[in-house]
């Protein structure tokens, strides 16, 4: 196949079309707060301010072709700190979509293709039958090996269940035991929930590839799956972009959905407040320190402060208020870790780690032994930069720590615990 070329976009014209009056490129003061606050600044000799200035100067060919658009994670921090509220990420999304398929980072393209290849909508291509098998198989093992959970349930395709629960494919594919703590939590609070064999997967790399049609198709399939079972709430588990692609996608594509979208974090907080999840921090006798990573996709880009506060309430309940150290900055002003936007799948490892240095410094400044985060991409990226820059922290899921606090964390469910935490269990 002959090499395709990247068409040239008229960025200035598109900016005028896409961005609201008063918050478009002509409003830019060139102050540089965006670039100063962007971890991707300098990569590929580009930064957000330069992007806008080049657009204003009509340097469309250069902008259309810069690989920087794959290093910008579209985290929207530039907009967050911009006094004129200019949304540069929209132009980056446009630029990504403009690249021919064969020129885009193949990891992102492949993940999107995988999502579309089965009814599961799984980026790892796990078909519905295999997902059902893995869930049943793991459930069987838990029932047999953990007497306290011999009646544990993991309902599949249960019509009329309150919660439709999604799952990142990494669990059933690579670490199925990581699903168990979540099931135990549902069991404990008496949640009426179900998995679905269709549309169960969380990931949506089609958005990251800039392919609107594919993004829509994935969202559509998931909405249909929820509607088919008649569930009231689509419950997004510990995954960041899955929430944003669905929530923003519904608005963007004008899709009707007869159910609510909620994050598991909101429910963790609610269940703790209601006493249904009786977690406490008494187990943390060694006063091990924890920090939390706010995923851009659910905090800055969606819920805002409310979910950030819920997340802190949950963490403090779990580890003790005095053992929680916030990263700076945090909440809506937090830095993207560099795992978002498909960066982890884009094959640009050096750039991704350069980006991640800011996050590494943030974590190192807290001195915390563990980072909690409800996002798989954040999780993987923070682990990787921790190893790369010589950090000594671990990264854990919320569900792990909740079950640890409740004394119900099974032996196979302790992958992410370091020796300090393991010592407290035994």
């Amino acid at each position: 196949m002959a090499d395709s070329t990247i068409p040239t976009i008229n960025f200035k014209e598109k900016a005028m079309e896409l961005l609201p009056e008063g918050a478009s490129f002509e409003a830019c003061l060139t102050c540089g707060l965006c670039s100063s606050g962007c971890p991707a600044s300098g990569i590929e000799n580009m930064d957000p301010r330069k992007f806008i200035r080049m657009a204003m100067l009509g340097m469309d060919a250069e902008l259309s072709q810069t690989p920087w658009v794959w290093c910008c994670t579209q985290c929207k921090r530039c907009q967050h700190v911009c006094p004129m509220n200019i949304d540069i990420s929209q132009l980056v999304f446009l630029a990504r979509g403009n690249w021919p398929q064969d020129k885009k980072p193949s990891g992102i393209v492949r993940s999107c293709q995988m999502i579309r290849s089965t009814d599961s909508t799984s980026a790892m291509g796990l078909p519905p039958a295999d997902f059902v098998f893995v869930v049943e198989d793991v459930l069987q093992e838990v029932r047999e090996t953990q007497p306290a959970f011999r009646h544990l349930q993991a309902p599949m395709d249960k019509t009329g269940a309150f919660f439709f629960v999604n799952q990142n494919s990494r669990e059933p594919m690579s670490e199925p035991d990581e699903m168990v703590p979540l099931w135990k939590i549902f069991d404990l609070v008496g949640a009426d929930w179900t998995y679905s064999s269709k549309g169960w997967a969380a990931e949506n790399f089609c958005m990251f590839s800039g392919d609107e049609e594919a993004w829509y198709e994935v969202i559509r399939k998931r909405v249909d799956a929820v509607s088919e079972l008649g569930c009231k709430v689509w419950l997004n588990t510990e995954c960041g972009h899955s929430y944003y692609t669905m929530w923003h996608g519904l608005k963007r594509f004008g899709l009707a959905a007869d159910f609510a979208l909620e994050s598991l974090i909101t429910y963790y907080a609610r269940w703790i407040r209601e006493g249904k999840l009786p977690v406490n921090s008494r187990w943390n006798t060694r006063k091990i320190k924890f920090t939390v990573q706010d995923p851009c996709m659910i905090v800055r880009k969606a819920y805002g402060e409310s979910i950030a506060l819920d997340m802190r309430f949950v963490v403090k309940s779990l580890v003790g208020e005095e053992n929680f150290i916030d990263m700076q900055p945090n909440r809506s002003a937090n830095y993207c870790c560099g795992g978002g936007g498909g960066f982890l799948q884009a094959g640009m490892t050096d750039h991704r780690r350069t980006y991640g240095k800011r996050k590494f410094d943030q974590i190192a400044a807290t001195g915390a032994a563990y980072v909690l985060t409800p996002c798989h991409n954040c999780h993987s990226q923070m682990e990787d930069i921790g190893h790369f820059y010589g950090g000594s922290y671990g990264v854990v899921h919320f569900w792990t720590l909740i079950c640890l606090s409740l004394g119900i964390l099974g032996e196979n469910e302790r992958t992410y615990l370091g020796p300090d935490l393991l010592a407290l269990i035994d």
């Binding site: 707060l33 606050g37 800055r300 402060e305 700076q328 900055p329």
Partner: protein, 431 residues
């Protein structure tokens, strides 16, 4: 999917997130008033960190050494100026309370004194200001005593040049020299003060930098750096670097985007919610209305619409940059309530012919009128609402840039607006 309106209530809504807005929230919190603050990112991030009260008098070429005496002159020559309407004791109290709060929250400041401090600017010129952050305090002292000092700058850092600072000060400060070094682990490309400051929150980076600073200092015991000494714990970072190097270190503000402003903004955003403020950052109020019972504010955050009912409101929306005032073909407007704006007769009178005209430009004195309770006035002189107060540079009859009085106007008028709101709240609750 249905978007539900979230309903919130509060005693005081502060609209604006500049120095005036944050100061209003701080004064209110310290008076146990329930506060919600809404505002776009604002221009706080552009501040140098210096808190000016009054640095320049109209018609006088000299800088103001004694701002308290200059306030007396101001009251006599410009009785409509917002600072002329506030007793000096209240202005002093407002600065003392504001800087004490900053100190409690990790950014220590010098207390307001009887005289201004002669402080260094990014260009190596001098300016008069009232309060200086502790991280910068050794600079004015070293200058006053003309101590041997090295200004150190960094490869790849734009907006701060040690050579420029030294060149401009050399005549008055012969012992001043300059050195350029590389910042640890940032060896190529453009680097930003914000990134350096965050990296210096990490102990390992401080240790590496300390070694480089010791070499660059040579025989000098005092060194000046661009303002990069940490973002979240500047006083700690400065103390640690001083301990590691054995030197006295001070910061000099840099050109925007600069660290001292980002420091203040992040501290406000961090601390105020912890103190119970409902902070809705990076959003603008789209509609504000008053009925007999309360004010209603409408806004949207990224998640959806919010409706806020507030017993009182402080308008601290700033000027043109922040959207508190809008300039159009037919004149200047206040966009949220369409409050009357005192302004030049026509666009032709906005500016003098010469940009540098020593009289200043009339447009800079445009703004809204207030009564003695800091309530915005309608045409005819009646307050717009007994629940509405205003603070900051949206007020008419001041030219804060020429007067070097931005922080002074923001802090002191916020103090008075909160005082008036508190009076209203207590009278309405007792009636």
């Amino acid at each position: 999917m249905k978007e539900e309106v979230r309903n919130l209530t509060t005693q005081l809504a502060v609209i604006g997130s500049g120095i005036a807005g944050f100061a209003a929230s701080i004064f209110a919190v310290r008076r146990n008033i329930a506060v919600a603050q809404i505002g776009n990112t604002g221009a706080v991030a552009y501040t140098t960190g210096y808190l000016d009260l009054l640095g320049k008098e109209d018609g006088s070429p000299a800088a103001v050494i004694d701002p308290w005496q200059a306030l007396d002159t101001l009251a006599a020559t410009q009785p409509d100026h917002p600072l002329a309407k506030i007793p000096a004791a209240d202005i002093r109290r407002s600065f003392t309370e504001f800087t004490a709060f900053l100190g409690e929250c990790g950014i220590a400041y010098g207390k307001p004194q009887d005289h201004n401090v002669t402080a260094l600017t990014p260009a190596g010129t001098l300016k008069q200001t009232l309060c200086v952050p502790a991280t910068m305090a050794a600079g004015p002292r070293a200058y006053a005593e003309k101590m041997p000092c090295v200004i150190i700058d960094f490869n790849g850092l734009k907006g701060f040049s040690g050579r420029q600072v030294a060149a401009n000060l050399q005549d008055r400060w012969p012992g001043l020299t300059t050195e350029r070094i590389g910042f640890p682990d940032m060896s190529h490309g453009e680097i930003y003060p914000e990134v350096m400051a965050r990296a210096l929150e990490v102990p390992a980076t401080r240790e590496k930098l300390a070694d480089l600073l010791k070499k660059a200092a040579g025989e000098a015991q005092v060194i000046g750096l661009p303002a990069v000494l940490g973002m979240h714990r500047p006083d700690h970072v400065k103390a640690e670097l001083e301990r590691l190097t054995g030197l006295t270190i001070f910061e000099i503000p840099t050109m925007p985007p600069s660290v001292p402003g980002i420091r203040l903004r992040e501290m406000f955003e961090q601390v105020l919610p912890e103190k119970g403020v409902t902070l809705i950052p990076q959003q603008k109020v789209t509609a504000l209305s008053f009925d007999s019972g309360a004010a209603t504010l409408c806004l949207c955050d990224s998640f959806g619409p919010i409706r806020l009912r507030a017993e009182t409101v402080i308008l601290a929306t700033g000027r043109f940059l922040s959207g508190g005032l809008e300039a159009g073909l037919t004149g200047i407007r206040e966009p949220l309530l369409d409050l009357p704006v005192t302004q030049p007769e026509s666009r032709a009178h906005w500016y003098c012919d010469r940009y540098t005209d020593s009289r200043g430009h009339a447009i800079h004195r445009a703004g809204i009128e207030i009564d003695s309770s800091f309530r915005p006035l309608m045409t005819g002189g009646r307050p717009y609402s007994e629940r509405l107060f205003a603070a900051g540079v949206i007020l008419a009859h001041q030219d804060w840039i020429r007067g070097r009085s931005g922080a002074g106007i923001a802090i002191a008028t916020a103090y008075k607006a909160v005082e008036a709101a508190e009076r209203f709240l207590s009278s309405s609750s007792s009636s």
